[in-house]
Subunit: 192 residues, 2 copies
Amino acid sequence: MNKRQIQKKKTRELILQVAKKEFIKKGFLDTTTSEISKKAEIAHGTLFLHFKNKETLIIEILDKELESINTNIFKLISKDYNLERLLSQYLNLLQKEEDLFVVLARELPFYSDKLRRKILFRDSIIRNHFHKAIESGIKEKRYRDIDVTSAIIFLFGTINYYLSLKPIFVKEGSVIKKFKSSIIKTFKKLIL
Amino acid sequence: MNKRQIQKKKTRELILQVAKKEFIKKGFLDTTTSEISKKAEIAHGTLFLHFKNKETLIIEILDKELESINTNIFKLISKDYNLERLLSQYLNLLQKEEDLFVVLARELPFYSDKLRRKILFRDSIIRNHFHKAIESGIKEKRYRDIDVTSAIIFLFGTINYYLSLKPIFVKEGSVIKKFKSSIIKTFKKLIL
DNA sequence: CCCCTCAATGAGCAATCAGTCACCGAGTTA
DNA sequence: TAACTCGGTGACTGATTGCTCATTGAGGGG
Protein backbone atom coordinates (compact mmCIF):
# COMPACT_ATOMS: atom_id res chain seq x y z
CA MET A 1 0.00 0.00 0.00
CA ASN A 2 1.39 3.37 -1.01
CA LYS A 3 0.79 6.68 0.75
CA ARG A 4 -2.37 7.40 -1.22
CA GLN A 5 -3.98 4.07 -0.46
CA ILE A 6 -3.10 4.35 3.21
CA GLN A 7 -4.62 7.84 3.38
CA LYS A 8 -7.75 6.62 1.59
CA LYS A 9 -8.25 3.78 4.04
CA LYS A 10 -7.65 6.13 6.95
CA THR A 11 -10.25 8.58 5.69
CA ARG A 12 -12.75 5.81 5.17
CA GLU A 13 -12.27 4.49 8.68
CA LEU A 14 -12.45 7.99 10.10
CA ILE A 15 -15.80 8.52 8.39
CA LEU A 16 -17.16 5.23 9.74
CA GLN A 17 -16.00 6.04 13.24
CA VAL A 18 -17.38 9.58 13.27
CA ALA A 19 -20.63 8.53 11.60
CA LYS A 20 -21.25 5.78 14.16
CA LYS A 21 -20.74 8.25 16.99
CA GLU A 22 -23.13 10.73 15.39
CA PHE A 23 -25.77 8.12 14.57
CA ILE A 24 -25.74 6.96 18.19
CA LYS A 25 -25.98 10.53 19.43
CA LYS A 26 -28.72 11.80 17.12
CA GLY A 27 -30.11 8.82 15.25
CA PHE A 28 -29.70 8.04 11.57
CA LEU A 29 -32.43 10.34 10.33
CA ASP A 30 -31.45 13.41 12.33
CA THR A 31 -27.77 13.13 11.52
CA THR A 32 -26.84 15.15 8.45
CA THR A 33 -24.06 14.20 6.09
CA SER A 34 -22.56 17.67 6.37
CA GLU A 35 -22.39 17.23 10.14
CA ILE A 36 -20.45 14.01 9.73
CA SER A 37 -18.03 15.60 7.28
CA LYS A 38 -17.58 18.63 9.53
CA LYS A 39 -16.85 16.49 12.62
CA ALA A 40 -14.48 14.32 10.60
CA GLU A 41 -12.82 17.47 9.25
CA ILE A 42 -13.19 16.39 5.65
CA ALA A 43 -14.98 18.03 2.74
CA HIS A 44 -18.65 17.22 2.33
CA GLY A 45 -18.00 15.66 -1.06
CA THR A 46 -15.36 13.30 0.29
CA LEU A 47 -18.02 11.38 2.17
CA PHE A 48 -19.75 10.53 -1.09
CA LEU A 49 -16.47 9.46 -2.58
CA HIS A 50 -16.24 6.68 -0.02
CA PHE A 51 -19.92 5.82 0.38
CA LYS A 52 -22.47 5.97 -2.40
CA ASN A 53 -24.99 7.56 -0.05
CA LYS A 54 -25.95 8.02 3.59
CA GLU A 55 -27.69 4.66 3.73
CA THR A 56 -24.65 2.72 2.55
CA LEU A 57 -22.85 4.24 5.49
CA ILE A 58 -25.21 2.96 8.17
CA ILE A 59 -25.56 -0.41 6.46
CA GLU A 60 -21.84 -0.97 6.84
CA ILE A 61 -21.90 0.11 10.49
CA LEU A 62 -24.93 -1.98 11.46
CA ASP A 63 -23.97 -4.96 9.39
CA LYS A 64 -20.68 -5.32 11.20
CA GLU A 65 -22.38 -5.44 14.60
CA LEU A 66 -25.19 -7.77 13.54
CA GLU A 67 -22.73 -10.11 11.88
CA SER A 68 -20.66 -10.16 15.03
CA ILE A 69 -23.62 -11.00 17.27
CA ASN A 70 -24.73 -13.66 14.86
CA THR A 71 -21.32 -15.29 14.79
CA ASN A 72 -21.04 -15.23 18.56
CA ILE A 73 -24.48 -16.72 19.09
CA PHE A 74 -23.82 -19.37 16.49
CA LYS A 75 -20.60 -20.37 18.22
CA LEU A 76 -22.43 -20.66 21.52
CA ILE A 77 -25.28 -22.69 20.10
CA SER A 78 -22.79 -25.06 18.46
CA LYS A 79 -21.41 -25.94 21.87
CA ASP A 80 -24.68 -26.37 23.76
CA TYR A 81 -28.32 -25.43 23.52
CA ASN A 82 -28.78 -24.19 27.08
CA LEU A 83 -31.41 -21.53 26.64
CA GLU A 84 -30.56 -19.51 29.69
CA ARG A 85 -26.90 -19.18 28.74
CA LEU A 86 -27.93 -18.34 25.18
CA LEU A 87 -30.26 -15.58 26.32
CA SER A 88 -27.78 -14.24 28.83
CA GLN A 89 -25.05 -14.15 26.23
CA TYR A 90 -27.34 -12.51 23.67
CA LEU A 91 -28.22 -9.77 26.13
CA ASN A 92 -24.53 -9.25 26.88
CA LEU A 93 -23.81 -8.82 23.18
CA LEU A 94 -26.67 -6.35 22.81
CA GLN A 95 -25.47 -4.44 25.83
CA LYS A 96 -22.01 -3.99 24.36
CA GLU A 97 -23.42 -1.90 21.52
CA GLU A 98 -26.65 -0.95 23.22
CA ASP A 99 -26.87 2.63 22.03
CA LEU A 100 -26.52 1.56 18.43
CA PHE A 101 -29.36 -0.94 18.90
CA VAL A 102 -31.46 1.73 20.54
CA VAL A 103 -31.19 3.73 17.33
CA LEU A 104 -32.05 0.60 15.37
CA ALA A 105 -35.10 -0.22 17.51
CA ARG A 106 -36.39 3.31 17.20
CA GLU A 107 -35.76 3.96 13.54
CA LEU A 108 -36.10 0.61 11.84
CA PRO A 109 -39.61 1.29 10.53
CA PHE A 110 -38.32 4.36 8.69
CA TYR A 111 -35.48 2.76 6.83
CA SER A 112 -35.79 1.86 3.19
CA ASP A 113 -37.16 -1.52 2.26
CA LYS A 114 -33.72 -2.78 1.32
CA LEU A 115 -32.13 -1.73 4.59
CA ARG A 116 -35.02 -3.01 6.67
CA ARG A 117 -35.05 -6.37 4.97
CA LYS A 118 -31.31 -6.75 5.45
CA ILE A 119 -31.55 -6.05 9.16
CA LEU A 120 -34.66 -8.14 9.74
CA PHE A 121 -33.04 -11.03 7.92
CA ARG A 122 -30.15 -11.04 10.38
CA ASP A 123 -32.63 -10.67 13.20
CA SER A 124 -34.60 -13.64 12.00
CA ILE A 125 -31.47 -15.80 11.96
CA ILE A 126 -30.89 -14.99 15.61
CA ARG A 127 -34.55 -15.64 16.43
CA ASN A 128 -34.09 -18.97 14.73
CA HIS A 129 -31.26 -19.86 17.08
CA PHE A 130 -33.68 -19.36 19.96
CA HIS A 131 -36.32 -21.35 18.20
CA LYS A 132 -33.99 -24.33 17.89
CA ALA A 133 -32.85 -24.00 21.49
CA ILE A 134 -36.41 -24.02 22.81
CA GLU A 135 -37.57 -26.83 20.56
CA SER A 136 -34.60 -28.90 21.57
CA GLY A 137 -35.54 -28.25 25.21
CA ILE A 138 -39.12 -29.30 24.62
CA LYS A 139 -38.02 -32.56 23.03
CA GLU A 140 -35.91 -33.30 26.08
CA LYS A 141 -38.89 -32.33 28.27
CA ARG A 142 -36.93 -29.61 29.96
CA TYR A 143 -39.42 -26.89 29.02
CA ARG A 144 -43.20 -26.57 28.93
CA ASP A 145 -44.88 -27.55 25.71
CA ILE A 146 -45.48 -24.01 24.51
CA ASP A 147 -46.07 -22.10 21.31
CA VAL A 148 -42.40 -21.45 20.54
CA THR A 149 -42.95 -18.62 18.07
CA SER A 150 -45.19 -16.71 20.48
CA ALA A 151 -42.68 -17.12 23.26
CA ILE A 152 -39.91 -15.74 21.10
CA ILE A 153 -42.00 -12.78 19.99
CA PHE A 154 -42.79 -12.11 23.64
CA LEU A 155 -39.06 -12.07 24.28
CA PHE A 156 -37.95 -9.96 21.32
CA GLY A 157 -40.93 -7.65 21.73
CA THR A 158 -39.88 -6.97 25.29
CA ILE A 159 -36.26 -6.31 24.41
CA ASN A 160 -37.37 -4.01 21.61
CA TYR A 161 -39.72 -2.19 23.97
CA TYR A 162 -36.95 -1.60 26.51
CA LEU A 163 -34.57 -0.41 23.80
CA SER A 164 -36.92 1.92 21.98
CA LEU A 165 -38.18 3.53 25.18
CA LYS A 166 -34.81 3.48 26.93
CA PRO A 167 -34.99 7.06 28.30
CA ILE A 168 -38.21 6.17 30.10
CA PHE A 169 -36.77 3.11 31.80
CA VAL A 170 -33.34 4.39 32.68
CA LYS A 171 -31.81 7.83 33.20
CA GLU A 172 -28.28 6.80 32.38
CA GLY A 173 -26.33 3.60 31.91
CA SER A 174 -27.64 0.46 30.25
CA VAL A 175 -31.31 -0.62 30.06
CA ILE A 176 -30.31 -4.12 29.13
CA LYS A 177 -28.08 -4.40 32.17
CA LYS A 178 -30.78 -3.02 34.46
CA PHE A 179 -33.48 -5.39 33.26
CA LYS A 180 -31.38 -8.38 32.26
CA SER A 181 -32.20 -10.55 35.24
CA SER A 182 -35.85 -9.58 35.08
CA ILE A 183 -36.05 -10.45 31.38
CA ILE A 184 -34.42 -13.82 31.94
CA LYS A 185 -36.54 -14.56 35.00
CA THR A 186 -39.79 -13.69 33.26
CA PHE A 187 -38.88 -15.63 30.15
CA LYS A 188 -37.98 -18.68 32.23
CA LYS A 189 -41.34 -18.44 33.95
CA LEU A 190 -42.95 -18.49 30.55
CA ILE A 191 -41.24 -21.60 29.26
CA LEU A 192 -40.43 -23.66 32.35
CA MET B 1 -74.90 28.95 14.86
CA ASN B 2 -75.09 31.00 11.72
CA LYS B 3 -74.01 29.98 8.24
CA ARG B 4 -70.40 31.07 8.86
CA GLN B 5 -69.99 29.07 12.06
CA ILE B 6 -71.54 26.01 10.49
CA GLN B 7 -69.16 26.21 7.54
CA LYS B 8 -66.19 26.65 9.87
CA LYS B 9 -67.07 23.57 11.89
CA LYS B 10 -67.64 21.59 8.71
CA THR B 11 -64.22 22.56 7.37
CA ARG B 12 -62.56 21.65 10.65
CA GLU B 13 -64.17 18.24 10.72
CA LEU B 14 -63.31 17.67 7.08
CA ILE B 15 -59.66 18.40 7.82
CA LEU B 16 -59.64 15.99 10.77
CA GLN B 17 -61.25 13.26 8.73
CA VAL B 18 -58.95 13.64 5.72
CA ALA B 19 -55.86 14.00 7.92
CA LYS B 20 -56.64 10.81 9.82
CA LYS B 21 -57.03 8.91 6.57
CA GLU B 22 -53.73 10.27 5.26
CA PHE B 23 -51.84 9.66 8.52
CA ILE B 24 -53.00 6.05 8.49
CA LYS B 25 -52.01 5.66 4.86
CA LYS B 26 -48.59 7.29 4.95
CA GLY B 27 -47.73 7.92 8.60
CA PHE B 28 -47.55 11.26 10.35
CA LEU B 29 -44.06 12.16 9.17
CA ASP B 30 -44.53 11.31 5.52
CA THR B 31 -47.87 13.04 5.21
CA THR B 32 -47.46 16.63 4.04
CA THR B 33 -49.80 19.40 5.04
CA SER B 34 -50.26 20.38 1.41
CA GLU B 35 -51.37 16.85 0.64
CA ILE B 36 -54.02 17.03 3.32
CA SER B 37 -55.29 20.37 2.05
CA LYS B 38 -55.31 19.11 -1.53
CA LYS B 39 -57.27 15.96 -0.62
CA ALA B 40 -59.67 18.03 1.49
CA GLU B 41 -60.03 20.49 -1.41
CA ILE B 42 -59.24 23.49 0.73
CA ALA B 43 -56.45 26.06 0.48
CA HIS B 44 -53.21 25.15 2.15
CA GLY B 45 -53.46 28.13 4.47
CA THR B 46 -56.91 27.12 5.69
CA LEU B 47 -55.40 24.14 7.49
CA PHE B 48 -53.30 26.46 9.64
CA LEU B 49 -56.33 28.59 10.38
CA HIS B 50 -57.91 25.65 12.15
CA PHE B 51 -54.82 23.98 13.62
CA LYS B 52 -51.77 25.84 14.86
CA ASN B 53 -49.50 23.27 13.24
CA LYS B 54 -49.31 19.73 11.95
CA GLU B 55 -48.68 18.31 15.40
CA THR B 56 -51.81 19.86 16.90
CA LEU B 57 -53.70 18.00 14.22
CA ILE B 58 -52.47 14.54 15.11
CA ILE B 59 -52.72 15.24 18.83
CA GLU B 60 -56.43 15.85 18.43
CA ILE B 61 -56.87 12.70 16.35
CA LEU B 62 -54.88 10.43 18.64
CA ASP B 63 -56.16 11.91 21.84
CA LYS B 64 -59.73 11.13 20.91
CA GLU B 65 -58.93 7.45 20.34
CA LEU B 66 -56.77 7.04 23.44
CA GLU B 67 -59.37 8.75 25.58
CA SER B 68 -62.00 6.42 24.20
CA ILE B 69 -59.98 3.28 24.93
CA ASN B 70 -59.18 4.55 28.37
CA THR B 71 -62.81 5.21 29.19
CA ASN B 72 -63.87 1.81 27.92
CA ILE B 73 -61.19 -0.04 29.87
CA PHE B 74 -62.03 1.94 32.98
CA LYS B 75 -65.70 1.03 32.70
CA LEU B 76 -64.80 -2.63 32.33
CA ILE B 77 -62.42 -2.63 35.26
CA SER B 78 -65.06 -0.96 37.42
CA LYS B 79 -67.33 -3.93 36.91
CA ASP B 80 -64.82 -6.72 37.45
CA TYR B 81 -61.08 -7.32 37.44
CA ASN B 82 -61.08 -10.46 35.35
CA LEU B 83 -57.77 -10.20 33.57
CA GLU B 84 -58.66 -12.32 30.59
CA ARG B 85 -61.77 -10.29 29.78
CA LEU B 86 -59.79 -7.08 30.29
CA LEU B 87 -57.07 -8.17 27.89
CA SER B 88 -59.54 -9.46 25.34
CA GLN B 89 -61.52 -6.23 25.47
CA TYR B 90 -58.36 -4.14 25.23
CA LEU B 91 -57.27 -6.02 22.10
CA ASN B 92 -60.73 -5.52 20.61
CA LEU B 93 -60.47 -1.79 21.18
CA LEU B 94 -57.01 -1.68 19.63
CA GLN B 95 -58.23 -3.67 16.66
CA LYS B 96 -61.01 -1.20 15.94
CA GLU B 97 -58.48 1.53 15.17
CA GLU B 98 -55.56 -0.75 14.48
CA ASP B 99 -54.05 1.15 11.58
CA LEU B 100 -53.90 4.33 13.59
CA PHE B 101 -52.10 2.48 16.38
CA VAL B 102 -49.71 0.97 13.86
CA VAL B 103 -48.69 4.51 12.93
CA LEU B 104 -48.38 5.33 16.60
CA ALA B 105 -46.24 2.28 17.39
CA ARG B 106 -43.92 3.02 14.49
CA GLU B 107 -43.52 6.74 14.87
CA LEU B 108 -43.77 7.40 18.59
CA PRO B 109 -40.02 7.78 19.09
CA PHE B 110 -39.95 10.59 16.55
CA TYR B 111 -42.66 12.74 17.97
CA SER B 112 -41.84 15.82 19.99
CA ASP B 113 -41.35 15.46 23.71
CA LYS B 114 -44.71 17.03 24.41
CA LEU B 115 -46.61 14.71 22.10
CA ARG B 116 -44.74 11.63 23.27
CA ARG B 117 -45.31 12.41 26.91
CA LYS B 118 -49.00 12.94 26.32
CA ILE B 119 -49.39 9.60 24.58
CA LEU B 120 -47.22 7.67 27.03
CA PHE B 121 -49.19 9.14 29.90
CA ARG B 122 -52.41 7.69 28.53
CA ASP B 123 -50.59 4.44 27.88
CA SER B 124 -49.37 4.29 31.44
CA ILE B 125 -52.91 4.73 32.75
CA ILE B 126 -54.01 1.71 30.76
CA ARG B 127 -50.97 -0.28 31.91
CA ASN B 128 -52.00 0.65 35.42
CA HIS B 129 -55.40 -0.95 34.93
CA PHE B 130 -53.61 -4.19 34.09
CA HIS B 131 -51.33 -3.79 37.05
CA LYS B 132 -54.28 -3.57 39.41
CA ALA B 133 -56.01 -6.49 37.75
CA ILE B 134 -52.98 -8.74 38.11
CA GLU B 135 -52.21 -7.66 41.67
CA SER B 136 -55.78 -8.27 42.64
CA GLY B 137 -55.51 -11.74 41.11
CA ILE B 138 -52.34 -12.50 43.01
CA LYS B 139 -53.92 -11.52 46.30
CA GLU B 140 -56.78 -13.89 45.60
CA LYS B 141 -54.22 -16.58 44.67
CA ARG B 142 -55.65 -16.85 41.22
CA TYR B 143 -52.33 -16.04 39.51
CA ARG B 144 -48.70 -16.96 40.04
CA ASP B 145 -46.67 -14.71 42.30
CA ILE B 146 -44.86 -12.91 39.50
CA ASP B 147 -43.09 -9.63 38.85
CA VAL B 148 -46.17 -7.75 37.72
CA THR B 149 -44.34 -4.90 35.98
CA SER B 150 -42.21 -7.31 33.95
CA ALA B 151 -45.26 -9.27 32.92
CA ILE B 152 -46.99 -6.13 31.72
CA ILE B 153 -43.96 -5.02 29.76
CA PHE B 154 -43.82 -8.45 28.19
CA LEU B 155 -47.42 -7.96 27.15
CA PHE B 156 -47.20 -4.40 25.88
CA GLY B 157 -43.86 -5.07 24.26
CA THR B 158 -45.39 -7.92 22.31
CA ILE B 159 -48.40 -5.90 21.19
CA ASN B 160 -46.10 -3.08 20.14
CA TYR B 161 -43.90 -5.52 18.25
CA TYR B 162 -46.84 -6.93 16.32
CA LEU B 163 -48.13 -3.45 15.52
CA SER B 164 -44.86 -1.89 14.45
CA LEU B 165 -43.93 -4.83 12.24
CA LYS B 166 -47.45 -5.50 11.02
CA PRO B 167 -46.53 -5.95 7.33
CA ILE B 168 -44.19 -8.78 8.29
CA PHE B 169 -46.77 -10.67 10.30
CA VAL B 170 -49.80 -10.18 8.10
CA LYS B 171 -50.34 -9.40 4.41
CA GLU B 172 -53.76 -7.86 4.86
CA GLY B 173 -56.39 -7.64 7.55
CA SER B 174 -55.74 -7.23 11.25
CA VAL B 175 -52.59 -8.36 13.09
CA ILE B 176 -54.33 -8.05 16.41
CA LYS B 177 -57.14 -10.29 15.24
CA LYS B 178 -54.72 -12.85 13.85
CA PHE B 179 -52.64 -13.10 17.02
CA LYS B 180 -55.25 -12.27 19.63
CA SER B 181 -55.74 -15.79 20.91
CA SER B 182 -52.01 -16.46 20.84
CA ILE B 183 -51.30 -13.29 22.83
CA ILE B 184 -53.92 -14.16 25.43
CA LYS B 185 -52.80 -17.77 25.65
CA THR B 186 -49.13 -16.88 26.07
CA PHE B 187 -49.88 -14.21 28.62
CA LYS B 188 -52.04 -16.61 30.61
CA LYS B 189 -49.21 -19.12 30.59
CA LEU B 190 -47.00 -16.43 32.04
CA ILE B 191 -49.20 -15.51 34.96
CA LEU B 192 -51.22 -18.63 35.73
C1' DC C 1 -77.84 49.33 0.73
C1' DC C 2 -73.42 49.99 2.86
C1' DC C 3 -69.83 48.69 5.64
C1' DC C 4 -67.56 45.59 8.58
C1' DT C 5 -66.12 40.94 9.87
C1' DC C 6 -63.73 36.95 9.17
C1' DA C 7 -63.18 32.41 6.92
C1' DA C 8 -60.77 31.17 3.05
C1' DT C 9 -57.18 31.72 -0.46
C1' DG C 10 -52.68 30.40 -2.57
C1' DA C 11 -48.37 32.42 -4.10
C1' DG C 12 -44.36 32.68 -1.89
C1' DC C 13 -40.87 32.53 2.01
C1' DA C 14 -37.25 30.43 4.68
C1' DA C 15 -34.89 26.72 6.06
C1' DT C 16 -33.14 22.13 5.44
C1' DC C 17 -30.27 18.60 3.16
C1' DA C 18 -28.61 14.81 0.16
C1' DG C 19 -25.90 14.58 -3.45
C1' DT C 20 -22.95 16.75 -7.67
C1' DC C 21 -19.10 18.47 -10.28
C1' DA C 22 -15.49 21.40 -12.04
C1' DC C 23 -11.28 22.13 -10.15
C1' DC C 24 -7.00 21.52 -7.27
C1' DG C 25 -2.65 19.73 -5.93
C1' DA C 26 -0.04 16.01 -3.57
C1' DG C 27 1.71 11.67 -4.82
C1' DT C 28 3.23 8.36 -8.32
C1' DT C 29 5.37 6.86 -12.48
C1' DA C 30 8.46 6.75 -16.31
C1' DT D 1 11.41 16.63 -13.74
C1' DA D 2 7.52 16.44 -16.57
C1' DA D 3 3.18 14.23 -17.16
C1' DC D 4 -0.38 11.89 -15.27
C1' DT D 5 -3.41 9.91 -11.66
C1' DC D 6 -6.73 10.24 -8.32
C1' DG D 7 -8.19 11.51 -3.58
C1' DG D 8 -9.98 15.52 -1.84
C1' DT D 9 -12.55 20.06 -2.03
C1' DG D 10 -16.67 22.99 -1.12
C1' DA D 11 -19.78 26.06 -3.51
C1' DC D 12 -23.78 24.97 -5.60
C1' DT D 13 -28.19 22.69 -7.06
C1' DG D 14 -32.66 20.95 -6.80
C1' DA D 15 -36.10 19.15 -4.18
C1' DT D 16 -38.90 19.24 -0.18
C1' DT D 17 -42.08 21.22 3.14
C1' DG D 18 -44.09 23.69 7.18
C1' DC D 19 -45.95 27.82 7.65
C1' DT D 20 -47.15 33.15 6.53
C1' DC D 21 -49.64 37.08 5.02
C1' DA D 22 -51.68 40.35 1.84
C1' DT D 23 -55.83 39.89 -0.44
C1' DT D 24 -60.58 38.39 -1.58
C1' DG D 25 -65.38 38.03 -1.26
C1' DA D 26 -69.39 35.94 1.00
C1' DG D 27 -72.20 36.66 5.00
C1' DG D 28 -74.25 39.45 8.65
C1' DG D 29 -75.54 43.73 11.30
C1' DG D 30 -77.47 48.32 11.29
